[in-house]
Amino acid sequence: MRRARSLLAIWPPIVFGLVFLIVWETIVAVYDIKKFLLPAPTAIASAFAGNLENVWEAVLVTGANALVGFVLGVLLGIAVSFVLMRFSVLNELTTPLAVAINAVPIVIIVPVLNNMYPAGSQVPRRVMVVLIVFFVVLVNVAKGLRQVSGTHMELMRSYAASQREILVKTRIPNAIPYLFTAMKIAAPLSVITAFVAEYFGGTQTGLGSAITSNASTSKNDVMWAYVLGACLLGLSFYVASIWLEKATTRQHGRNPVMTR
């Protein structure tokens, strides 16, 4: 009975999706829309199947950039948040910086990064991802380390606990849900950043470059195959982060408010 009910719950998105695809396919057929204008879903599917190896290679390049940047950004963000907690003065300085980084199109520094590194290097894109992930993680984890409930602090003080004991037994466990929230935001963001960074020059491997080159030669169905690859990559990072969160939420009863 329960399974039937959950099946009933997921029909709207499936139906909407199918209807959308069918309408798309029909319009292309009825109006005889040329491939270079807008390919039909079936054309895309066959292009995807036909170019699977190439798409996969491009996915690996962009995906690797996203993954490396993500992992480094998270580690760096955690490390610096500890420093920030120790020296709260630095905290006051980094907050306006973090707000500004969020407000400006920071990806635009990639051309400069490309000049700074040897040609053919993927490092500029990885640096970009690190930068963006770092700030997301930093802001959230710093918040988690700082915002311990008043009752908990009074309790620990009543135990005459040392600063180190307070850190280990209270601040760090408090910050862990914040870390996972940050990772949930940063994971898809790392894919998007790695992807967008490819538009700003640099070595021509990866999904973004493949899309641009196929678009310029009007091979739209092949281009869409890469687009599909990009979507799948982004979704997989997102699903991985959700799974990671679910694996730990059993231990913690709540999810803190998100900060971007």
Partner: protein, 284 residues
């Protein structure tokens, strides 16, 4: 609140100065042609061509763009303004469509259940991948190039706004909704008098996200559609001139940063006007 803003701005200036100081420090200690750490080439080059001094960047603004043409600061201002207007328009369209879709989803639960998963999923994939496709379609409809670019900004902006707005529309406390019911108010009246005002606190942070998204969308589609006159194209052009005019690309970066802050500031000003008599915006 003004005092808080002044304090934050001055701290921002100090933070910038710290960044500039780190920059100069790296120029002193960093390897001229790049270096390796444990065998990975991750240290950037620090020579004057690739990393000009911070004061050289400022000085570049008062140089001429290329021989015998307008000064750099005028050129960059023009490019930044061009992109800013497209991003602003994109933000506006994205907000209207996003709010509209949110209202639709709030009204018809079927729409919410059917569309919301896609809206959420769209936040996780690089939508900008669709830029060339959208450009082709828009071009075929005879829309001017700037419109395609703006549409892409709107496209990226509308997703965070619809998610934020949907949350906001359902944030009205149950007691308030019951009150409206007791007045026999129609769904539409409840929307206008209760849910929309209640959702402002959620709309604002959504618009902050959307503003950045719109700017990035516009810049990237400028590049991929080859639209001239904007800061995106200008940055790439200046970057290519790294040997002859090393500091120029940095002026474009500063311009891009300024336009992003300007649009963000626009949203903050809107927040101030709308939320003046209310407690701070809801987070999340």
């Amino acid at each position: 609140m003004i005092r808080q803003a002044a304090r934050r701005s001055s701290l921002f200036v100090v933070a910038l100065a710290a960044v500039a100081a780190t920059w100069e420090l790296y120029k002193v200690v960093g390897p001229e042609t790049g270096g390796e750490v444990f065998g990975w080439a991750i240290l950037p080059k620090s020579n004057d061509r690739v990393m000009p001094h911070t004061w050289e960047m400022i000085a570049e603004f008062f140089d001429s763009e290329t021989r015998g043409t307008p000064l750099v600061w005028q050129a960059v201002l023009g490019y930044a303004w061009f992109t800013f207007r497209l991003a602003l328009f994109g933000l506006f369209v994205g907000t209207v469509v996003g709010v509209g879709l949110a209202i639709l989803m709030a009204r018809f639960r079927v729409m919410e259940r059917g569309l919301l998963p896609y809206v959420i999923a769209s936040q996780t994939v690089p939508l900008i991948a669709l830029a060339p496709q959208i450009a082709t379609i828009a071009g075929n409809w005879g829309l001017p190039r700037w419109a395609w670019v703006s549409i892409l900004g709107a496209f990226l902006a509308f997703f965070p706004i619809s998610i934020a707005m949907l949350k906001g529309l359902s944030s009205a406390p149950d007691a308030a909704v019951e009150l409206m019911d007791s007045y026999a108010a129609s769904w539409w009246t409840t929307l206008v008098k209760l849910r929309l005002p209640a959702s402002m606190g959620y709309l604002v942070p959504g618009m902050k996200l959307a503003a950045t998204a719109s700017v990035i969308g516009v810049i990237v589609s400028e590049i991929s559609t080859g639209l001239a006159g904007g800061i995106g194209r200008a940055t790439l052009q200046y970057a290519a001139k790294a040997t002859s005019e090393p500091a120029q690309v940095y002026t474009a970066l500063i311009g891009a940063g300024a336009l992003g802050l300007l649009l963000y500031g626009f949203v903050v000003a809107m927040e101030f006007a709308l939320m003046r008599n209310r407690p701070q915006e809801a987070t999340g």
